[in-house]
Symmetry: C2
Subunit: 410 residues, 2 copies
C-alpha cells in the first residue's frame, strides 16, 4: 500500500491538462507565443499600483497585515459596489464577497452547489479550468453548442430541459476560448430560461471591459447581471464572477462573487474553510486603485492596444491562410477562435490537422493552443485558439507568418 | 423550489460556528478580548514589510503583477527551502508548494485525500476550522484525547487501529486550543504509527516558532518533519503545513505545504482549480523579507512579549480563580486551555458552567471562547480557551480581574 492508493476518488475525474504540457515547451528562447491566456504585463499600471500599495501600507498597515473578514476588506467591497454601479448593476457592499481571483469564485460555487453526479452545462468550448474545477466536485459536464453569437439558446433550452443541470456556466462577453459576444436578445432569453427552469446561471465576466468599440459612447456589453432587473425572478437564479486579472493585475489574485443572499452566505462559509480570506494587501491595493480613479484611463489604453493587435492578427491570418482558416474577428477580449477548413487550394485539400500544426509551429518558433481541450466532450479537432494580447503588432505579423510557413509545411 | 433546495449535500455536514456568533459581540466598545486567535498587529514589522514590498514592486514588478505558477513564486520557494533548513528540515524548493495561508494547505489535503465517509482523526480539542474543512469533504472526524503533553499516543494507536483513518491531523507544538507541546518521545511514536499503519500524518505548525524559552541555545521544538529522518519510511506518510500568519503577517495569506511527491503533485492540481495561485505580491514580500534576514530579530521580540503576557495571565488566573480553575501554563504559542474544576470553596461548589461564564464575561466587558466547539464530538463543557497574544500585560491584569468578578457573580 502506498500513498497514491489512499487518494480521494474525485481525482479520477480530472487529468493534468495537455495544455499544461504544451506550456512547458514555451520556455524555448525566441518563441512567439499566441498560446497563453495572460494579459500583457507591459501594460500594467505599475506606478498606479505602487501608489495604491504605499497608501495601503500607510495608515491602514495594521489592518491590512492582520487577519481580515472572510467576506472581504470592506473598503474594497464599497468601491466594488460603486464600480458595479457604473456597469449598470445595483449591488450593496454586503451583496458581494471578495475571492482569491475569480477562479476561487468558481471553486466556491462548485463546493456550494455540486454533488457527485450532478449535471452542469457549459459552453462548448469553454474555459478549461472551469470544466476541471466542477469535475473535481463530481459534476457531469455537458457542452452546449455555440456559434458566432456565443451559446445557442435554442440548444441550451433543450439541454436544460433534458439534463436538469445544477447550474449553467457561461462567459457571455468575449468568451474564452470562443471570443464570442452573446447578443442582447440571447442574454434576455438566458435569464428567462433561468427563471423558467429554476436553474442557476453562473456568469463569468473577466473580459467584459475589453471591448474594442472606440466610438464616443462605447461602453462594456451589458452583463446578464445588469439585465436581470428586466427579467423578473432572474436575480434569484444568477451568480456573477468578476475579476481584476485582465484589467489591473492577475498576480494580486482579486476577484469577486455576486450571488443570491443564501448562496453568498454558504459560499462565504466554504471560503472560510478554503483560505480564511483573500490577501488583505491585494484587496487594499485594488480598493485604493479603484478609489484613485485611474481605472478608466488604464482601461482605455489597454482596449486601444488590444484592438489594434486583434485587427493586425485578423489581417495576417487572412493573408497567410486565406480560405484554409475560418474565424469571426472578435469585438473584444483576448482571443481568436478559428477552424482549419480543409479548403481545396492548388488542387489539393489543405490540412485540418491542428495537432500536427501545433507541433510544426513549435518547431518554427511560434505557439498556439489546439481547441480540443476546451470541450468537455465531442471536441472539435479542427479548432484552435490564438491570443493576441501579449505579442505586439510586429511580433503578431512575424508570428502569424511563421504559423503560415508551418501550415504550408504540413 | 428555491435556490437553497439545490445546494450540495456536503453543506449539511457543517454549521456556522457558535464562535462566529460570539465574535459579533466583540465589537462592543471597551471590551478586553482573550477570545481571538489573532497575533498582535502592533508587533508586525511594518517597516521591514514595506521595504520588502518596495523591492517586490521594483525590478520584479512585471512578474509579480502577472499570473504566476500554481506551485508558487520560485524565489519564495528557494528562501523557504533555506528557512526550513534552519529548522532541521531538508527540503528542495520543488518539494514544497505555496498556499493561500496554511488554511488552504488543509483544504488541498482534504480535496486530495478525503472521500465521503472517510475517517479522520484529530486531537480533541483541535482547531475548529480544520474540523469543518474536512467535514465539507465528507470526513467522519474522530477526536483523540489529549493530556498536558498533547495527544495521547496510546489512545491514538487504538483509534488508528480501530478506525483506519485516511489521515491524522495534529498541531504538535503549542496546539490550538490546547497550547500543549508534544514531547519528543511521543513525536517519535507518532511517526512510527504512521509507518506501522500506513496512515498519513498532517502536521500543522503555525506556532512552533513561538517558544518562550529564553535560554541562550533555545530553539523551536523539533517538528515531526525534522524528526522523520530518524524513523525510516515516515517521510512517505507525512505532510507539513507551514504558515507566516503568526510570525510575519496573517493578512498576506502565505503558507506552504510539504508532502510526499505524489501527494504534492495532486495538491498542486487541486490548487490550480481552487485559486490558480497565491498572490504573487504576497509571495514576493515574504521572499524578500526572509532574504533580508530580519526574521530572527522580529521573532525574538514577539517571543519575549508573548512570554511575558503568558506569565502575567497565569499569575492573574491563579489569583482570581484559585483552585476553581485548572491549567498547564503554556511554554509557547498564544493560548491557555483551562477547565473550571467545580472545587468547593466557602462551603459551596463553584460553577463549572462555561457558557454562563461567557455570558457574564461579555456583560463585564471581557471575552473568551468556550472550549466545547473545539471538539469534534463529546465536548468537554468545563473547558475554555484564553488568548494572551493581543492584550498587553495591563489589559491582561484588568481583563482577568473582570473575568474573576464575572465568575464570582455566577
Amino acid at each position: 500500500m502506498n500513498i497514491q492508493s489512499t487518494f480521494a476518488k474525485r481525482l479520477g475525474n480530472v487529468e493534468t491538462s495537455a495544455i499544461r504540457e504544451l506550456f512547458k515547451l514555451l520556455a524555448k528562447p525566441g518563441i512567439i507565443s499566441f498560446a497563453g491566456g495572460f494579459p500583457d504585463a507591459s501594460m500594467f499600471d505599475v506606478d498606479g499600483i505602487k501608489a495604491a500599495t504605499d497608501k495601503a501600507l500607510g495608515d491602514t498597515a495594521g489592518a491590512v497585515l492582520q487577519y481580515g473578514a472572510t467576506e472581504g476588506y470592506n473598503p474594497l467591497r464599497e468601491n466594488l459596489s460603486k464600480h458595479m454601479a457604473t456597469k449598470g448593476v445595483t449591488v450593496s457592499p454586503e451583496g458581494l464577497i471578495i475571492t482569491t481571483g475569480s477562479q476561487q469564485a468558481l471553486d466556491l460555487i462548485g463546493k456550494t452547489m455540486i454533488d457527485e453526479g450532478d449535471n452542469v452545462i457549459v459552453e462548448a468550448p469553454t474555459f478549461l479550468a472551469t470544466i476541471q474545477c466542477f469535475r473535481l466536485y463530481g459534476a457531469n459536464v455537458i457542452g452546449a453548442p455555440i456559434d458566432e453569437g456565443g451559446v445557442r439558446v435554442d440548444k441550451l433550452e433543450e439541454l436544460i430541459a433534458k439534463h436538469k443541470p445544477k447550474l449553467v456556466y457561461l462567459i457571455p462577453s468575449f468568451g474564452n476560448p470562443s471570443g464570442a459576444l452573446v447578443p442582447q436578445d440571447r442574454r434576455k432569453r438566458i435569464l428567462e430560461l433561468a427563471v423558467k427552469y429554476k436553474t442557476l446561471i453562473v456568469e463569468d465576466d473577466p473580459y467584459g471591459e475589453l471591448y474594442f468599440d472606440a466610438s464616443p459612447n462605447a461602453c462594456a456589453p451589458r452583463s446578464l447581471l445588469s439585465m436581470a432587473s428586466d427579467v423578473p425572478g432572474s436575480l434569484d437564479w444568477l451568480a456573477f464572477a468578476g475579476s481584476f486579472s485582465k484589467v489591473m493585475s492577475p498576480g494580486l489574485r482579486v476577484g469577486w462573487l455576486i450571488a443570491p443572499p443564501e448562496l453568498l452566505a454558504k459560499a462565504t462559509m466554504c471560503k472560510q474553510f478554503s483560505d480564511a480570506h483573500t490577501s488583505n494587501l491585494s484587496q487594499a491595493i485594488a480598493a485604493n486603485y479603484l478609489a484613485s480613479g485611474a481605472m478608466p484611463t488604464s482601461m482605455d489604453k489597454v482596449r486601444k492596444v488590444y484592438a489594434a493587435r486583434a485587427k493586425t492578427m485578423a489581417e495576417c491570418l487572412k493573408v497567410e491562410f486565406g480560405n484554409a482558416i475560418r474565424f469571426t474577428a472578435p469585438q473584444g477580449g483576448m482571443f481568436f477562435w478559428a477552424n482549419l477548413t480543409g479548403a481545396v487550394t492548388d488542387a489539393r485539400r489543405q490540412s485540418t490537422d491542428v495537432a500536427a500544426l501545433a507541433k510544426a509551429a513549435i518547431t518554427n518558433n511560434v505557439a498556439f493552443v489546439p481547441g480540443a481541450p476546451f470541450f468537455a466532450h465531442d471536441a472539435d479537432m479542427t479548432a484552435l485558439r490564438l491570443s493576441f494580447a501579449t505579442a505586439n503588432e510586429d511580433l503578431i505579423r512575424e508570428g502569424v507568418a511563421r504559423l503560415g510557413q508551418a501550415f504550408r509545411s504540413l
